[in-house]
């Protein structure tokens, strides 16, 4: 016999289901008076530093229909490339920017919207700068384990070409699934769950 490692197993994920909004954005779904505001509804205030941008998009299923019951969260660095997190040891992020947002897809057209700032560059493990990007996390009815992906910026062609994560994508035409369309300050980032345009999702 050898010693036991004694590690625990991660709690298995389960779908967020059709009523995820009751728990995560109750004001959005008409349950007022419990929380003052829905967490993550507002990412910037008047003092937040950086270039204001708007990201809109949809989460589209294998039949081409946008999901109207999904919930999207984003996580990003501030305008100079610092995360507002205790794990960020390179400096102090903008105190007027949490870097985290949460938005349900709309009940009518399935569009999500984030008003935020363009993130600065952050380093890869080996110190190389990654291209500016925003982490996305998608949950919904029918999604058993939340999906991680990233949005990159279309005007950053040079930085994107040198990005260590994008470089790992074997089928080069799929890189485009992680790059927003539109132009500053209005970007569009559609997420395709299946099909020819299936977004590159990350096991990260």
């Amino acid at each position: 016999m050898v010693q036991q490692l004694g590690y625990l197993k991660e709690t298995p994920s389960q779908t967020a289901g059709p009523y995820v909004h009751i728990g995560l954005t109750p004001n959005f779904c008409g349950i007022g008076g419990v929380y003052e505001t829905d967490l993550g509804a507002r990412m910037v205030n008047e003092q937040t530093l950086g270039e204001r941008i708007t990201i809109t998009g949809r989460v589209i299923d294998g039949a081409g229909t946008p999901l109207k019951d999904a919930l999207v969260e984003i996580w990003q660095a501030d305008a100079v490339g610092l995360y507002n997190s205790p794990t960020e040891l390179r400096g102090s992020a903008d105190p007027n920017f949490t870097g985290w947002g949460r938005c349900p897809t709309a009940a009518d057209d399935g569009v999500f919207t984030f008003e935020t700032v363009k993130p600065g560059r952050v380093p890869f493990k080996d110190g190389r700068p990654m291209a500016p990007h925003i982490t996305f996390w998608i949950v919904a009815r029918g999604i058993n384990v939340g999906l991680h992906t990233r949005m990159y910026f279309p005007e950053e062609a040079e930085a994107n070409a040198a990005d260590p994560l994008l470089a790992r994508i074997e089928h080069r035409h799929r890189v485009a699934t992680l790059v927003a369309t539109g132009a500053a300050p209005n970007y569009v980032f559609d997420i395709h769950l299946q099909g020819e345009k299936e977004t590159v999702f990350l096991d990260i």
Binding site: L8, E10, Y83, L89, I143, N144, H148
Partner: protein
């Protein structure tokens, strides 16, 4: 916990997710997954600073009744109908380390199995004193608790006669965005657990059992509420002591 506050925050990458332990994306028994499951392989990558970091939520976001679903939507002096329970436990990581400061958000149907949602059409009635959402933050040792009523089972459109066992939905933030997790808690002894197509998306019986909260008789409060204990395990992280220190780090 002076020891913990004096310690430098951990910055190691998270253990890879065991994808055999979790449900696969495509689970035809749960029909909605068919058109919503990615079909291509995930791009697997060691976590970067973008996933190792994550938002933190101060105790200031939590209101006094946020962890009391019996009262947080009820009219003054009234309370939600149903079996009064306390759900409590600990948030740990795969190394067994406590995860302090974890935001937990939970939501559930009322005692009759009805959700307060405009898309919900089950004929069971709404309870005017029950909203169905709550939240709390784990303490320095990773403990949490909240009060609620035991949710009822409910039918849902999938197979002709599919019912969800009684369950509470949980959303969890750990210390890194890579730990982000949504799951569901079930109740010990419920025979409907093993009939549920959503439960059965998880291939491993032991993994399913990790979602079933035992009745905690020791913590049951006489003449008030029974207790159920539900521990949650998030991804562990590597020690930074093992990492090569590279320039620019």
């Amino acid at each position: 916990m002076p020891d913990r506050t004096n310690r430098k925050p951990e910055t190691g990458a998270f253990f890879p997710r065991d994808r055999q332990w979790h449900a696969p994306a495509l689970t035809p028994g749960y029909k909605t997954s068919v058109l919503r499951s990615p079909q291509k392989a995930l791009l697997s990558l060691d976590g970067t600073i973008s996933e190792i970091t994550g938002p933190v939520f101060g105790h200031s976001v939590i209101g006094e009744l946020d962890n009391d679903l019996i009262h947080n939507f009820a009219r003054p002096g009234e309370s939600a109908i149903g079996e009064r329970i306390i759900v409590h436990g600990r948030v740990l990581d795969e190394r067994g380390c406590a995860v302090p400061g974890a935001l937990l958000e939970f939501w559930q149907a009322n005692a009759g199995g009805r959700y307060r949602h405009k898309k919900e059409s089950y004929l069971a009635p709404l309870d005017p004193n029950f909203g169905g959402c709550g939240r709390t933050i784990t303490d320095d040792e990773g403990f949490y608790s909240f009060r609620t009523i035991k949710p009822g089972p409910y039918p849902w459109p999938n197979g002709v006669n599919d019912w969800r066992p009684a369950h509470i939905h949980f959303s969890v933030f750990g210390h890194g965005f890579a730990q982000r997790l949504i799951t569901q808690m079930y109740f010990e002894g419920d025979p409907m657990i093993w009939k549920c197509p959503i439960v059965n998306t998880i291939p491993d019986r032991q993994a399913i059992e990790q979602l079933i909260a035992p009745l905690d008789w020791a913590n049951t409060i006489p003449f008030d509420a029974r207790a159920y204990k539900f521990d949650i395990v998030l991804r562990g992280r590597r020690s930074t002591l093992f990492e090569n220190r590279l320039e620019g780090n």
